[in-house]
Symmetry: C2
Subunit: 325 residues, 2 copies
């Protein structure tokens, strides 16, 4: 069996699943494993280390993978895009900023242009920019995001695509960690899903085991959108975006005292970095979304994709049983 | 055609749709219209006016409707429950507080006990309390709520029900305004949906036309969870709950200045009340959720229910097309 949507047809993949290009966590091994499993794997380009990016493309070997960028960060080091494009990525994924300066270069090499948005307003801009795929990301997602929920943003963007007569495809992101979420996304009008947290908790992800254990022990109630983690890392994220993590002692200590924390400056950043290096999950953040409550193990990405698709197939195949004629 | 789920079978209704007992907006006319359309209509018991409640039960006539309470408010005037139960409601719906003191009385008269929750933790308490139906409400909902998203909370509660071997049914609430949302809810493991905002924008709802027009003009980007509206109304809501409304000049003026607003006291409350009375949508809040972006008209509740169910039937009936064997 296989799940066939416009996304699988357009991208020439087997399953309508794209792995989120999670900063730090999504390297070449994870991306190639997702591609090997029939989805589209993406390497996370994060905050601009070109050598790391090249290393991870090499790690992915001959697998057709893509990569993703934090757009506002790429704007500070735009040459990174050239280094990525030299590897002939299957797709380039942009989120958190204006991708207009980069769209042309991506299209010129024949890569799919995937634009992730968090609002209807930005979705409209992405459509006008000629995105091949728009990703509507809800606030339930792990890592960076905004306020809208996947459940309402996806159909609203689907309507904007239909009204405007765009040929753009649509993926849902945020909160999709099993076949129920994928089946729901297709019912909402998406052509596929971008999966983050569930693949963050995979054998191939570059995540410390202690952080994984913390996320597995958590329920969805235990995550929070906040800015403490970015202040601790010294990242200058635009005000509109914050980051969902599993709560821990460090977040609880500083939540609501962000100005004081900023004032603590370098010392606090060093303390955080030392905690992360030591794998201390009471300090370092498990960057996992509300789907933490749906994740109970760390498994190979291939198994995760297969289970996710298998459950969605079963649900969609039997969905007609609800309809009594 | 009809949508058949465990909810329709258990409650003896035609469609798996329950109308949210929205304070002020959901009177007897709306509740009876939803019941007449094949769902289960609920009257909103709000902040404790027993005469209003009785009047609305009379307005509903012979229709089998239920009613809902803001639990922390009911606890201050528990006799209201007796007045409601005297009308032999089909169901009583509690949200926002501990329903333990009331559950026994509801069960004693044979009404279905519906408990709405906003977290997994409260869902577990509701299951232990013997709820007939647990409603998992996501933050995308209009009106009061919390932080969890419908998309993750519903499957997580479904798992808790399955793990615990409960016979309890599950409804999704928050962000469900069309057949896409209802179909998605069923894929997530819900047995039905509680529909608020879409029915708030119905001909039968007790909502000023100017507020409806404001919500119709809004996109989902234009709503916000905040406390300004409750401060303006003088309601002493527990800290954990806030209220989603369509942004307007009044909310924008006070958002982030809540302490200053509280200090302004009675004068500010009078100014707000006068604005509401005058139907001034730049002051009074349109209490509508993110689904505002999916709502484009005010229609009779019966038409809304029929359209919602028809679209869900179509989507579910054709869902098997995604599966290629």
């Amino acid at each position: 069996m296989a799940l066939t949507t416009r996304l699988t047809e357009r991208l020439g993949i087997e399953h309508p699943i794209i792995s989120a290009p999670m900063a730090f966590a999504a390297g070449g091994r994870l991306a190639s494993a997702v591609t090997a499993a029939g989805g589209l794997g993406l390497i996370g380009g994060w905050y601009g280390d070109g050598d790391w990016l090249e290393q991870e493309f090499r790690e992915a070997g001959n697998a057709r993978v893509g990569c993703g960028f934090i757009t506002w960060s790429l704007a500070k080091a735009p040459h990174l895009l050239d280094r990525a494009l030299a590897h002939r990525p299957r797709a380039v994924f942009f989120s958190f900023g204006d991708a207009a300066p980069f769209a042309g270069d991506v299209k010129a090499v024949g890569a799919a242009l995937i634009l992730q948005v968090q609002t209807l307003k930005d979705a409209k801009a992405a459509l006008d920019l000629g995105a091949d795929v728009v990703v509507a990301q809800g606030a339930e997602a792990g890592g960076h995001g905004e306020r809208r929920a996947t459940l309402t943003l996806v159909p609203e963007v689907a309507d904007a695509i239909a009204r405007g007569g765009y040929g753009t495809l649509l993926c849902a992101a945020g909160g999709i960690a099993d076949g129920r979420g994928l089946a729901a996304a297709l019912m909402l009008g998406a052509d596929g899903a971008v999966v983050g947290s569930r693949l963050w908790a995979s054998s191939e992800a570059l995540v410390h085991r202690n952080m994984l254990d913390r996320a597995i022990a958590a329920t969805g109630d235990d995550t929070v959108r906040q800015k403490v983690t970015d202040i601790a890392r010294g990242y200058d994220w635009p005000e509109r975006y914050d980051i969902r993590v599993v709560r821990n002692a460090y977040v609880d200590r500083w939540l609501g005292r962000e100005e004081e924390m900023r004032a603590a400056g370098e010392g606090e950043r060093q303390r955080y970095a030392a905690g992360v290096s030591a794998g201390d999950a009471s300090i370092g953040a498990a960057i996992c979304g509300e789907a933490a409550g749906l994740i109970h193990d760390v498994r190979p990405a291939g198994e995760i994709v297969a289970a996710l698709v298998g459950q969605a197939e079963s649900l969609l195949g039997r969905a007609g049983r609800f309809v009594r004629t």
